[in-house]
Each structure stands twice: as C-alpha cells, then as structure tokens.
C-alpha cells in the first residue's frame, strides 16, 4: 500500500493535533486560525496535484483514491477554508477552547473526506461517526441554552439515525455476506430477480440505508433536527453543517447506491423512485415551512431542506438511468459545488450582520441596504442564486439537474420542482425586500473583519463564475462522475 496517497488526510490530522497543542502554549490565538488554514491549503494542494491521475485503492480496498473522492476532498477543504476564514471574528469572542474549535472543524472535514472515499460499509460507518461526533461538539460550542439544546438534540437524533443506518447495513450484510460495495453488487447480480423480490430483508436494508443517509442530507421526513440545530449552533457551524455535511451525505449516497445497488436496473429504478418521492416532499415541506419563518437562520434551515430536495431530483435521475448515463451524478456534483458557494455566502453575510445586530430576526435586517450596501448586495446575490435565477450559479445548477431528470423520463418531478422554485422565490425575495426597501432602525454601519470580507468575496465570485461561465466546473464534475461508468 502506498501511504503517499493518504497525504491529504494525514496532513489534516496532523494540523488538528498541532492546533490543539499550540492552543496550550500561545497567547496570540489568531495564529490558530492561520495554522488551520495552512493545513487546509497543504492538504488541498496535494489533492489538487493528485487530480486526474488513477491510483490503486488503499487500506485493503477500503478507501478509493479516485477522482470522485478527490473532487469531494477539494470541495470539503474549500468549504472548511471559507468556514474558518469566516469564524475568526466569531471565535475570538470565546474565552477558552479556541483551539478545540478549529481542531474539531478539521476533524469533521477529515471525516467527510473519508466518507467520500470509502467503499466498504464498515469504513463508511466509521467515517460517518468521526464526522458526526465532531459536529455534535461543535454545535454545542456556545454553551448557552439554545446551543446546548441543539447539540443534545442533534446527538440523540443522530444516534437514532446511526442505529437505523447500522441496522440497514447489517441487513444488507446478512443478505449478501459482504461489506465491500462492489462485492455486494456481484452477489446481487448473480441472484435471479424473483429471489431478490421475495426477500424483504434486502429491500428493508436499502430503505434503512436511505433513512440513515437521509438524516445526514436533511431529507424529509428525517429533517426534524434541522431548524433547531441550525438556529442554536454557532452560525459558522450552521453554514458548515448546511453545506459540507450535506455534501458528504450526497457523496456517500452516490457511491453506495451506484456501486452496491446500481444494477440490476429494476432495483436502481426502485430506489430512484424512493428518492424521487423524498425529493417531492422535501422540496414542498421545506419551501412551505420556510415561508412563515421570522428568524433568518431557521429560514435558511428550511431552505436547505428544500435544496436537498432539488439535489435528490438528481439522485432520482441517476436511479432511472444507472450505468447508462452520468448526467444525474454530474448534475449533483455541480449543484453541490454551486450550492456550497451560495449557501456559505448567505451564511457569511448573516454572520457579519448578526455580529453587529446580535439578532437573527429578518425584521432586524430592515434597511441593511443603506447600512451595509456591500453585505446586502452579497446576500442578495446568494439569495437570488438559491432561488435559481440567472446569472447566479443556482440557475445553472438547477437547469443541469432538471435537464438530467427530464432526459431520464422524470418530467413530472421536474414540474413539481419548478413550481417549488417559484414558491421559494417568495421567502427569499422577502429578505431582499426588507433589506433594500425597509426603513433603517439606525444609521450605524456594520463593520466586518478582513477575513470575513475575503470569504464573502470568494463566495460571491464563485456564485457569479459558476453562473456565467459554468463550462469549466461542469467539466470537472463530469470528469469526477466518470467513475459511474461501468
């Protein structure tokens, strides 16, 4: 085994250890963020250098080092980079444990990188827990009543989801006798359809896997934790959860459902329809419950449920044409990238504004267009992208995924998704309206640190670039999705 292929992960792990140790010795806590960022940059640099090559799997075939995994590694590292940049203001208010904050973010990122690479049920579970446990701690980091409650809820519900997932894995293992995804597929292919259909154990296992992963991506009906956790967690962590954690969930769903259950066709169409139905209820419930929200973090929480719904349209498309076309898969990758920039941008703007206002109420954003025109402009751009209007990235992303679904015979689903997009415009634009047309409560400017502004600028650039010249990113997504060709 070539340990060199594991350098991105090792670098991250080492950085996390260094950050914790440094925290004990140095007074200037801002160095912690810089060390963390340099760790991310090193890890990311190696991942970029590895992009495009073909490498053998490592750790007894448990971890694949393919372009799909590398794509997600770059995505997670990029997200973590932006989250840490935007955390510096926020974290500097903590009196203690600043090092732990950064280290936990790095460890969660490590867990997600592993999630994108694993090809074995056992390793999937371990990677998922590494991510989740780091996140439980991060959600409760503020230690006030809301944050603690959120953390506890997340922990308990996450434990239920883990149990469900493990049970599903156990059933799949019991049925096939394998934990390696490709071997599961071989067993399933060897059996006649009648045998498979007559075995509820397998289908139950698949359903439980959907439920377990559905919790991660916040799909309805496994989304109950989202609003409370998003509201209670420190805002940078909310941003991180809404983007990276969701992307990791999708990474693992893509790999598991393709590698293990991608063929035979009737099976893949079955789970494709499950995801299609989950997409419908996620979009609809997410969007409609977002409408009456008065707190912007809760509103974005429901919005992220709806966005998971749009993403699942891509999963459904993948299920309909598994092994024939990679349009659905590459659509999901492109959507996740654009969603990462968009949602991070929105949350970073919220962080900057909330830091000053000490409030997350939408009503308090009134007149922000006059008090902080650039912040308001950035938030407007991100909200426009979330609606899916050009020239922002969200438009291309939705177009890509919806096109995939239409090509694979899911027109009805796309119609529902488009209607949902129209509904969602209402609550996104309401924030825009309040900011630009509302009266200002005070004329005070809203200050923000250079790091935060840089992070926001990068997000806005990403949103615009992906929206205006999407060709390059689409090429990357399609290249990464090439592992989905038999």
């Amino acid at each position: 085994m070539n340990l060199a292929l594991f350098i991105p992960e090792i670098a991250l792990l080492a950085t996390a250890a260094i950050v914790i140790l440094l925290d004990l010795f140095i007074e200037q806590k801002r160095w912690l963020a810089q060390v963390s960022i340099s760790g991310l940059v090193i890890s990311g640099g190696v991942a970029i250098a590895m992009w495009g090559g073909s490498y053998p799997a490592i750790f007894n075939n448990m971890l694949a080092v393919d372009n799909f995994a590398l794509f997600f590694k770059m995505l997670f590292l990029g997200v973590a980079f932006l989250v840490i940049l935007s955390s510096t203001d926020y974290v500097s208010k903590f009196s203690r444990f600043q090092g732990e904050y950064y280290a936990l973010v790095l460890l969660a990122t490590l867990g997600m990188m592993l999630m994108a690479a694993t090809t074995n049920l056992i390793a999937i579970y371990i990677a998922l827990e590494l991510t989740s446990i780091s996140l439980y701690a991060l959600v409760g980091f503020l230690k006030d009543s809301k944050s603690t409650e959120a953390s506890l809820k997340y922990l308990l519900l996450g434990a239920i989801a883990s149990a469900v997932l493990l049970y599903g894995m156990a059933l799949v293992f019991g049925f096939t006798g394998k934990t390696q995804l490709s071997e599961i597929a071989q067993v399933l292919q060897a059996l006649p359809q009648t045998t498979l259909l007559a075995s509820p154990g397998l289908l139950l296992g698949v359903v439980l896997l959907v439920a377990g992963f559905g919790f991660k991506i916040a799909a309805v009906p496994f989304q109950m934790w989202v609003p409370d956790v998003y509201e209670g967690a420190p805002t940078p962590i909310t941003a991180y959860l809404s983007v990276a954690s969701k992307a990791a969930g999708f990474a693992i769903i893509l790999r598991v459902f393709f590698s293990a259950f991608g063929i035979p066709v009737w099976l893949s169409q079955n789970w494709g329809l499950i995801f299609a139905s989950l997409a419908v209820i996620s979009m609809t419930i997410g969007n409609i419950t977002a409408i009456p929200q008065t707190n912007i973090k809760r509103m974005l929480g429901y919005s992220s449920i709806a966005q998971a719904g749009y993403l699942m349209v891509g999963l459904a498309a993948m299920g309909m044409a598994s092994g024939i076309s990679i349009l659905g898969q590459s659509g999901v990758l492109f959507f996740l990238t654009s969603y990462a920039f968009t949602n991070l941008g929105a949350f970073i703007a919220v962080i900057a504004i909330s830091n000053k206002l000490d409030s997350d109420l939408i009503a308090d954003y009134s007149g922000m267009g006059k008090r902080a025109p650039l912040l308001a402009l950035a938030l407007t751009l991100c909200l426009v992208s979330l609606i899916g209007m050009p020239p922002a990235a969200g438009f291309m992303a939705k177009f890509y995924i919806f096109n995939a679904a239409v090509q694979h015979g899911l027109l009805w689903l796309v119609i529902i998704a488009v209607i949902n997009s129209v509904i969602s415009a209402y609550y996104y634009l309401r924030v825009v309206k309040v900011m630009w047309l509302g009266e200002t409560a005070s004329a005070e400017k809203v200050p923000s640190s250079g790091a935060l502004r840089l992070a926001l600028l990068l997000c806005c650039l990403g949103v615009l670039l992906l929206g205006i010249i999407p060709g390059y990113a689409m090429g990357l997504a399609q290249f990464a999705a090439n592992i989905f060709v038999y």
């Binding site: 009543s145 409650e149 809820k153 409370d228 419950t289 209007m389």
Partner: protein
C-alpha cells in the same frame, strides 16, 4: 459596421446599469445628475445602433441578418446552450420602439425626477429595464426570452414600488408581480411542452417545425395557448388585466415606458415572435383574437368612468393591447405589430403629458384640474394630438393601424368586428372626456394627491423644456409614424406576403366605406364628450343616474378585484391552504422554540420535560418516515 456591433444595442444599457448601480450610487452624492446622463448616453447609443440595424435589415435578403453567437455552456448528451440574437424585421422594429420611447422617457425624467432622493436608483432600474427589454426582443431561444421576460417583470415590480414608503405603491407592485406570475406558469409550461416534443428551445427551429407540420395537433395548440397565457399576464389581457391600473402607483415616466409602450406590449410581441405556431393552430389563433376583442371593449368600458387621468390611460392601454391581439389573431404579425408601433409613441406621449400635468397641479384627479390649456400650452397641444391619434382620426398614425385591424377583423372575425367598432366610439369618448376635464373650462385648483408629486401650490405652470421637448418629439412621431404603411411598406417589410397594407395612398381611405364609418364613430365620440364635459349641454350626472347599474358596474371594474381578493385569495388560499400549513407549523415545528422560550420563565425541570417530549416526537417521525417508505414500496413498488 460588422454585425458583432449588434450586441452593443443590448450591452450599452446593461453597462449603464452596472456603472450606476455599483459605482455611481454608492460613491456619487445624491444631487448629482450623472446617473441620468449615463443612461441617456447609453440608450442614445443603442438607438443609433438600432436605426443602423433597421436599415441593414431592410437591405438584407429575407430581411434578416445573422448575428454571431456565443456558446455559453455545454452539457453533455449534445445539449449546448448558445447565447444568440435574432436580427430580423420584427426585432428591428421593436428595437426602434424600445429605444426611442426609452430615450424620450429618460430625458423627460431628468425634469420629472429632479430632486427625488432615489434619483440614482431610478436610473439604475430604468437602465436595467431597457437592457432586459432589448434582450427580450432579441433573444433567439425561448429559454433566454423567458429569462428576460422575468427580468422586465422584476424591473416593473421594482419601479412600480419605487415610492415604496407608500403602502399603495408597495401593494400595487406586489399585485403586478403575482398576477403576471400566473400567466408565466402557462408560458413556462408551454416552453417545456415544446422542448419535450422537439428537444429545442430555438425559436427559428420551432418555426420551421411548425411550418413543416412536424409540430402539430393538440401539442401545438396547447403549447401555443400556454405561451399566450404568458402574453395575457404581461399584456394585461382579460382576465389578468387587474394589475395594470394599480401599477399606475409608480412614477409617471415609468408608466409611460413600461406600462404603456414597451413591457406590456411584450405579450403582443411574444405572440408575434411565435406566430408560425399560432398560424398552424386555428384554435390558438382564434383564442388570441377573442381574448383581444373582449379585452378591447371590456377595458374601454371601464375607462369611460374613471376620474384619475392615469387610470383612464391605463384602461386605454389595456384596451389598445386588446386591439393588437385582435389584429394578430385576425390579421397577422404585420397588423398587430403595426398598431404596437404606432401606439407606443402616442401612448407614451399621453402618459408623459399626464405626468407634466401632475407636475403642475400635484394631482391626477381630473375633477381637480380644468383650464390647464391656458397655463400649459405645449402639454395641451401635444396631448390633443395624441388623443386624436388614439381616437383614429385621419391622417394621424392611430388611424392607419386601427383601421387595418378593423378591416381584417371584418373579413375574418365578424362578431368581434362589431365589438371593435363600439370600442372605437368609446375610445374617442373617454380620451376627449379626459382632454376636456383636464384642459377645458376653469382651473379647479388641484391639490396633493395620494401619489405623484406633492406640495405644488398656487398657479399651475408649464413644465421645463427638458420635459416638453420629449413631448414634442413624440407628438411629431404620433403624427408621422403612420405614414410608413400608407403604401404598405411596413406590411411588406414584416415579411408576410398576404398582409401588405390595405390602404394604397394617403387619400385612399376616403374611397372606402369602412374608414368612413370608423371616422364617424370616433367623431361622434369626441362630440359627445364635448357636449358633456366642455359645454355641459348634457349633464354627466344625469347620464350616470340614468344608467346607474351600468355606471356602477364600470366604476367598480366589474368587481374583478373583489372577486380575486375576497373569494380566491382570502377564502381559498388564506383560510384554507395556508392556514393548514400554519397550524402544522405552530403545533409541530414551533413547539421546540416555544419550549425554549417558555423555559426561561418556568423552572428547569419543566424545560427538560418539554424538550424530551419534543425529542421523542422527532424520533417518532424518523420511525414513521421509514415505515411510510416501506409501506409505499410494499404496495406500489
């Protein structure tokens, strides 16, 4: 000039928007007129290029010049998205309309909006609107057309609500946005239906498929009707007309540009752009004609009784748009667009005239005006010219296009023809009712009204030059623009052989019976208005009480607002659907938040109970969700 320059027609106003929005507005002090100059300059540039393009198109074979396009994104499976522009006779004519009216309005606004705190914002949105409108008429595929379609809708929303501190303006903006959205559902459905059946968004390809018969039958009809639904919303046709009168809450130059000459005409343009599809579906084409005919008379009837000058003009616009639809449905592209072309100038002029009057008196209520002829000679003169033109008096432009529509309707839709003839009479009456109430008699001493300029006292006065000169230019166009088709040149240019103009010379109409009838009807409308509102030979009040039920019906706008608001919105949606979701949200979703909030007051023990209860519920939901999926698979899988 190379054809790449055609892109600049669209890009110049867009640059203007970007410069004003991102540089002028944040960094230049509010009193500066820079934003206005940038806008005028860029739209002037677009106009010059549009004129050049018009002549180039006229000289080109098939009246069409190719514009180099840009590949925007490649999605695998051969789906590529091109950014392309069309430059044919229809686009060239629309470009002239958009850029001329926009330029006049921008110049006029220098006077009208002077000193408004939102001056920069106003010009930013106006530039964006002009760019989007140009993009709309130039787009070569339905997807981009739809994008620009929504953009102009957005700009309209922002500009109607420009004085957002007034609740009426904010409500009107919302209403316009929501009502037009209803039509857009149909439009989007039509686009999707076409895409599914043909695999293309390209407008010319769709034309060819429809002409070749590959796209036919019910598919074509439904797609065309879907597209027409979008046009109904945008062009405020019956039954989605309710938003346009309320949209008058915006600044008057906005009404002139967006809600009279250009955006509302986009619906008519859309039908013309997709005309080969309509042509090959009798049902769809008949629908267009019927909706147009009904709208024309229906809106005119409401215009008869309004007291707010801008509302009279708004209903007049709806009615004239109905005429255009009727022209498209009964005659063809050239007939409908010909009226659009002429209407743009005289209707923009009427609105700008109303704005000028408002500038002087501070009100839009005609009952408070009167006698302004003395004080505002230029406004009066130009307003009368426009009124004569819209009433269809020979030889002004309105005559030529309206009578073309009437002649074609007579030939193809006899029933609608009688409605259209009655509308001619109504149009002349309500326009001259407005003229006499506003400019005739003695000044009744206007006062600040709910919208528009405030704080004018004392004697009314003529508006400054910067406002009257655009009026004069538009008046000249209202007189002369009709001459383009006197010998059928416009009809030939629009490229549909059979729709060469009916009239063959300036005096040819007098040899035909139909123009005589329409002129007599229009003349009697003007005379009746003169008798009632200038000389008081006939008392309007007595007429009103004689036809009390009819008067109430018109004045209350057929109770359409009440129908939509009370029955559909309030009862069906608010009390039904949304209330249900609210209950769900209150009891299930917000329970957690309430638990926390209540916990601050009650003891810690109580919180713990509330929270554990909540958590169990959440866990239960996961379980129920899994069971539901299994259930669904078991029974339907």
């Amino acid at each position: 000039m190379p054809h790449q320059f055609i892109w600049l027609i669209f890009l110049l106003p867009l640059f203007s928007f970007i410069i004003i929005g991102f540089f002028v507005r944040p960094f230049v002090r509010a009193e500066s007129k820079l934003a206005g100059y940038i806008t005028i300059l860029s739209i002037g540039g677009s106009l010059a290029l549009s004129v050049w393009a018009l002549f180039a198109v006229m000289a080109a074979p098939h009246h069409e010049i190719p514009v180099p396009d840009v590949t925007w994104a490649v999605i695998e499976d051969g789906v590529t998205i091109h950014l392309g522009l069309i430059m044919d006779s229809l686009t060239a004519v629309m470009l002239i309309v958009v850029t001329v009216v926009s330029l006049m309005v921008q110049i006029y606004s220098q006077g009208y909006m002077q000193g408004d705190p939102g001056y920069h914002r106003y010009y930013a949105w106006m530039s964006l609107f002009t760019a989007s409108m140009i993009g709309l008429v130039m787009a070569d595929n339905l997807l981009f057309l739809f994008v620009f379609w929504e953009m102009v809708g957005l700009c309209s929303y922002l500009l109607i609500g420009f004085w957002f501190h007034k609740p009426s303006a904010a409500d009107a903006a919302k209403k316009a946005f929501i009502v037009t959205r209803l039509g857009d559902f149909g439009f989007l459905a039509g686009i999707l239906l076409l895409y599914l059946n043909t695999g293309t968004f390209d407008i010319y390809e769709l034309h060819e498929l429809a002409i070749a018969g590959a796209l036919a039958g019910t598919t074509l009809t439904w797609a065309a009707i879907g597209i027409f639904a979008g046009a109904v919303g945008k062009s405020a046709q019956f039954p989605l007309h309710v938003w346009l009168p309320d949209a008058m809450e915006g600044p008057t130059p906005v009404s002139a540009l967006i809600h009279a000459a250009t955006m509302v005409a986009a619906g008519v343009f859309l039908v013309a752009r997709m005309f080969p599809l309509f042509e090959h579906s009798t049902e769809a084409l008949t629908t267009v004609a019927i909706i147009g005919g009904i709208t024309a008379i229906f809106a005119a009837s409401m215009g008869l009784v309004m007291n707010d000058i801008k509302r009279v003009l708004a209903y007049s616009t709806i009615s004239q748009l109905g005429y255009m639809m009727l022209g498209l449905g009964a005659g063809g592209v050239a007939i409908g667009i010909w009226h659009l072309f002429n209407h743009a100038f005289f209707k923009a002029l009427l609105f700008l005239g109303a704005g000028s009057v408002n500038h002087a008196t501070g009100t839009f209520d005609m009952r408070l005006m009167g006698g302004l002829r003395k004080y505002m000679p230029w406004t009066y003169l130009t307003f009368v010219i426009a009124s004569l033109s819209i009433s269809g008096i020979w030889p002004l432009s309105g005559f030529w296009s309206k009578d073309e529509i009437l002649i074609n309707t007579f030939a193809h839709q006899p029933v609608l023809f009688y409605l259209a003839m009655i509308t001619v009479f109504m149009t002349a009456f309500y326009m001259f009712r407005a003229v006499f109430m506003t400019f005739g008699g003695e000044y009744r001493g206007g006062e600040p009204s709910a919208h528009g300029h405030e704080g004018h006292h004392g004697q009314p006065h003529e508006s400054p030059r910067v406002m009257t000169i655009p009026l004069m230019i538009l008046a000249a166009l209202s007189i002369l623009s009709g001459l383009w088709n006197v010998t059928g040149h416009f009809g030939a240019f629009m490229g549909h052989g059979e729709t060469h103009g009916f009239f063959t010379g300036l005096f040819h109409p007098f040899t035909q019976p139909l123009p005589w009838i329409s002129l007599i009807l229009a003349g009697s409308g003007i005379l009746l208005a003169y008798a009632m509102y200038r000389k008081s030979w006939i008392s309007p009040e007595r007429i009103g009480s004689m036809f009390k039920p009819l008067y109430t019906l018109f004045y209350r706008k057929y109770w359409f607002d009440e129908l939509y608001e009370n029955i559909i919105v309030r009862n069906a949606l608010l009390k039904g659907l949304f209330a249900g979701f609210e209950q769900f949200d209150n009891h299930v979703v917000d329970g957690a938040v309430n638990g926390v909030a209540g916990g601050a007051i009650v003891s810690g023990r109580a919180i713990r109970h509330a929270q554990t209860g909540q958590l169990q519920l959440y866990g239960l939901f996961i379980g129920i969700g899994i069971l539901a999926i299994i259930f669904v698979i078991y029974f339907f899988g």
